[in-house]
């Protein structure tokens, strides 16, 4: 599998002087197309920071980041935004849906950001909702959906823009077991059927079986990186 993202010797330091905190201490990581990569570790270990660095949300204090072969560390926030828009879809722990928009409109907004015309946007949004099994909830507002349904709308939104990778931060943390499993199965299918990379930050031991690779982070360093012994079937 080819590397979509290559993080090399990344250091991230928050703050300055005595109050500074080194969240990442020279971490290297590759994100490959078609794999499900899970970043695990205790709270404060640096896994979310690593996701942010890999997802072009945060430039490391030191080290390099390559996205599709292009070096992106040190780019401006506006330039990083363009890269994110082109390559990534994001799924957040608390869904981060727009409460004033329906499910279909929430999905369509990802396409609007990319300048997709209205007619194609509508069709693609409904198609993405169909793919996550929520075609019949297109006109519902987030307040009318369950937690699991909201997270699936968020996945549909991340998917709609046809990204190379979906980056998900604790996507099952706010969900019950059944909903969490459904979300992970969905992400797994996306990776395997569509060849997208899926990077998940998680604490949730219930979902590790879906991983192709698990990276354990502790105290800003990778403690262990291993192919999952029992990769899930596509």
């Amino acid at each position: 599998m080819t590397a979509l993202v290559e993080v090399a010797q990344a250091r991230v330091v928050y703050g300055t002087g005595e109050a500074s905190v080194e969240a990442l201490k020279g971490v290297s990581l590759e994100v490959r197309k078609g794999e499900i990569l899970m970043l695990m570790g205790p709270s404060g270990s640096g896994k979310t920071t690593l996701l942010q660095v890999a997802g072009a949300l945060l430039s490391p204090t030191a080290g390099t980041v390559r996205l599709a072969g292009e070096r992106i560390d040190g780019l401006t926030q506006e330039d990083l935004g363009r890269r994110r828009l082109r390559h990534f879809g994001f799924v957040f722990q608390h869904y981060n849906l727009f409460p004033a928009l329906t499910a279909a409109e929430n999905v369509a907004i990802a396409l609007d950001l990319k300048g997709v015309p209205a007619a194609r946007r509508r069709a693609a949004a409904h198609e993405a909702l169909d793919r996550v099994g929520l075609g019949d909830r297109a006109a519902h507002f987030p307040s009318q959906l369950s937690g699991g349904q909201k997270q699936r709308v968020a996945i549909a939104r991340a998917l709609a823009g046809e990204p190379d990778a979906i980056l998900a931060d604790e996507p099952t943390a706010a969900l019950d077991s059944a909903s969490g499993k459904r979300v992970v199965d969905l992400l797994h299918d996306l990776a395997k059927a569509q060849g997208r990379a899926v990077v998940l930050v998680t604490h949730d031991p219930r979902i590790v079986e879906a991983a192709d690779r698990i990276v354990h982070i502790e105290d800003g360093r990778i403690r262990e990186a291993a192919e999952h012994p029992l990769p899930a079937e596509a």
Binding site: T48, L51, Q52, L57, L58, Q77, E78, G81, R82, R83, R84, L85, R86, F88, F90, F92, Q93, N96, F98, P99, A100, L101, E105, A108, I109, A110, D112, L113, A118, R121, D169
Partner: protein, 380 residues
């Protein structure tokens, strides 16, 4: 920014209107501001307009006034021979007498009211009443005839045409009513022929307050004014616009009444601006997490500008529409009141532009906050 409706328009609209209570609170702030600004500036406009109304409505190119006169209602006594002297000046086509003198009127119930007797030459009609609603202007030829505005019927205890009244202890008769000739001094105008005005105010036959000058068609009023000044150095000469402004400025700047209205109007504008800006800013800040999500998704700055500016424009349209409607209702309700509130279309347009500017300014301030959001904040 594209003007075609799209998802940004929808997002802007729903950001405002999805939560009805919040939308109502946002609109209340802007509506209150627009209404406050409209009424305060309308009061000031009404005051200024009323002060100079007689000057503005009088068909005179130049006003000959006593030395140092600062406002039409504070006239000086000048000899009528000045009028005859002016008639000989090159470029003067006509010169008519005019008076504006305060007097005491006795109400039928025995009470007293102050009135302003306005005397003009009935033969030319220059300086006479406009907007006559009842009666006949020709009846002012009767020796004791006056015309007043029906707005002050109750104040002066006058009910009908033909009713006799007492001015400075002399009998007068109301022969007509005008509609909408207000006074700003609380002394209603009594229009009368110059002879009647002299009789009622005790002015001598050869005295008057003003000379109203019509210049020849091809003459430059400023040049004619210069020639009159050269001929009559003890008299002041103003164009109609100059005397109108002079009268308004005197009351606005040098009197407590005018100055307090200017201050109230300025405060109304400032409070309105602050409330509008603060309301819209707070509304945008309420959506900060959603803008952070858009930033994290990779939304370019122009996209966020577009949403926030659209939000401001929508709030301005609804807020101004409702606010100016309420202000128009208040203006309509106050038309028979003692204080004139005027809301001419130019003022309404100006307030509309000010509202949009305030909303845009609030949006720009909000944009600075939104653009400063760290997209990683959505992970916290």
């Amino acid at each position: 920014m594209s003007l075609s409706p799209g998802l940004r328009d929808l997002l802007a609209w729903r950001n405002l209107a999805h939560d009805k209570v919040r939308f109502f609170v946002t609109l209340i702030g802007i509506v209150f501001s627009v209404t406050l600004m409209a009424v305060q500036t309308g009061l000031l406009t009404g005051f200024v307009t009323t002060i100079s109304k007689i000057v503005d409505k009088t068909d005179a190119d130049l006003w000959l006034v006593g030395r140092g006169v600062r406002s039409i209602d504070l006239p000086a006594n000048i000899p009528e021979r000045r009028r005859f002297q002016v008639l000989g000046v090159d470029g003067v086509a006509a010169a008519d007498p005019f008076m504006h003198v305060f007097a005491q009127m006795k109400r039928p119930d025995g009470g007293a009211e102050s009135v302003a007797v306005v005397g003009f030459d009935l033969a030319t009609g220059r300086g006479g009443p406009w907007a006559l609603a009842e009666g006949d202007i020709a009846d002012l030829a009767l020796p004791d005839a006056v015309v007043m505005d029906r707005l002050y019927k109750k104040k002066l205890g006058v009910e009908r045409i033909g009713q006799t009244i007492e001015v400075n202890g002399r009998r007068a008769r109301v022969v007509g009513f005008t509609d909408g000739i207000r006074t700003f001094t609380q002394s209603p105008h009594l229009f009368a022929d110059i002879k009647t005005a002299r009789y009622l105010t005790g002015y001598a036959e050869d005295r008057l307050n003003y000379v109203l000058i019509e210049t020849a068609r091809d003459a430059d009023p400023q040049a004619v004014a210069a020639r009159i000044r050269a001929l009559l150095p003890d008299i002041d000469v103003y164009t109609k616009a100059e005397f109108s402004t002079r009268s308004s400025m005197y009351w606005l700047v040098t009197t407590g009444a005018g100055f307090s209205l200017v201050i109230a109007s300025a405060l109304g504008l400032i409070v309105g601006m602050v409330v509008t800006a603060q309301t819209l800013y707070a509304t945008t800040m309420d959506r900060l997490p959603e803008y952070a999500t858009l930033r994290a998704m990779g939304a370019p700055g122009s996209y966020l500008y577009g949403v926030i500016l659209r939000q401001a424009a929508i709030a301005a349209v609804f807020g101004f529409g409702a606010g100016i409607s309420i202000a128009a209702f208040i203006v309509h309700g106050a038309r028979d009141g003692s204080a004139a509130i005027l809301l001419p279309w130019q003022l309404a347009v100006g307030l509309g532009l000010a509202t949009f500017a305030m909303c845009a300014a609030a949006a720009v301030i909000s944009i600075r906050r939104v653009m400063a959001i760290d997209p990683v904040s959505v992970f916290k």
